[in-house]
Amino acid sequence: MADLFDKFEALTSTREAMPFEEANPVGIVMDEVISPTEAMIDGRRTILAGTNNYLGLTLDPRCIAAAHEALDAAGTGTTGSRVLNGTYAGHKQLEDALANLYGTDQCIVFSTGFLANLAVIGALAGKDDYILLDADSHASIYDGCGMSGATIVRFKHNDAADLDKRLTRLGVEGSRVLIVVEGLYSMLGDRAPLDDLVAVKKKHGAYLLVDEAHSLGVFGETGRGVGQDMGLDDDIDFIVGTFSKSVGTIGGYCVSNHPKFDILRLAARPYMFTASLPPSVVASATKAIEILGSEPEHRERLWRNAKQLHEGLRRAGFTLGADCSPVVAVKVDSPDILVRFWEKLVLNGVYVNLAMPPATPQGLCLLRCSLSAAHTPEQVDTIIETFEKVARMNSVGMPALEPVD
């Protein structure tokens, strides 16, 4: 008999064909959180190298104290949308803190980063508009495009010339075009050539939206992201980001100087028809944004750790996804090697992200690591040593590494 679940047959068989024996990548449970960089998984003390907790602020005493205070004062949740009963003083303070960080006139906070992209992209572009998006964009960007009703055109990943070519071919007025890119791409850890993209945007008079989800707190003098790092913030029309990485909690935002930006509060359904962030989350996010803007030492430690891991794995002979960044992706040749390698890492006390097609660009199989400011140099050494140890295990089937200088 037909079943609603029939459509998942191919997915089910792909999953069942995975040769996992002792660990399941989508079934990992952190039984106890020891620190931002360690947890107990299945009875093993495990170094966490795949959490996007870039600044390690999840357990910062100041963020926790702020959350406690808000929880005690205002309760566990707002039970309402921002446009009804869900806007508290804390939400406005958080929006002010972000506008202040970016030096923009306006900011809107959303309940998750995913919703921020759905809301902003979905509302900004309408059926007579055009979205040109980088082919490697996050699922939330694609879904926001789908919600918009606009004509969607992809351009080649990080290829400003291809964007230019497609805009020229399209031949529509630039004021009807929204270009969407990310600052740092989460899978390979490569960053957008924003200078070239801004030049194309200006040439065509289009709008530019940059998602700094993985770059907030990571790049730039005060942690705004890749835009600030490249001195291009003023040329970006909309910056979207998330609180679920460097900020260490959950939520999303968009900042802009567009004078009519605020109307999105009455037009964006993912803003209007979901409950607002709870007071404790708002308070810890506000504190974390203050910290990431004013304490560059976390960023400096993060980059030291990133360089140590990137350099260590490169020297050991691993093939890496991109230049050094806090996302270090190790490429392996096949899904079989990937699955076995990932499993042995977990069993040897190192958690990284297992990433495979279709979630990866170019059909790549990746052991994706993300660093934290909270990692110690010793932990980073252990991650490198464990990668080398697992690569030598015959059962993993990894071709022999050739160490390089």
Binding site: I152, V153, R154, R166, R169, P357, P358, G363
Partner: protein, 81 residues
């Protein structure tokens, strides 16, 4: 030879590098079932067609294009516009 056939022939030639299963391509061939392409392959192929014909094939059009013949007709329409 009608222009539809010409377009079909050109598309068939563009399919060759991705036709790893050596499927004989006819207008009724489907990308998902016959050619067994995943979404990434489809995207690369679409980019190749855009460059070859100097057209834009919006992402919105793709869900309705299941067969090679449907793609040829869509390309002809885009070329005509």
């Amino acid at each position: 030879m009608t222009s539809a056939q010409t377009t079909f022939d050109q598309i068939a030639a563009l399919i060759v590098p991705y036709n790893t299963k050596g499927v004989t391509v006819i207008p009724e061939s489907t990308f998902a079932s016959d050619l067994e392409w995943d979404s990434l392959t489809v995207m690369d192929f679409v980019a190749d067609m855009e460059d070859h014909f100097d057209i834009i094939i919006p992402l919105n059009m793709l869900p309705d294009l299941e067969t090679v013949g449907q793609v040829a007709a869509a390309v002809d329409k885009l070329l005509g516009d």
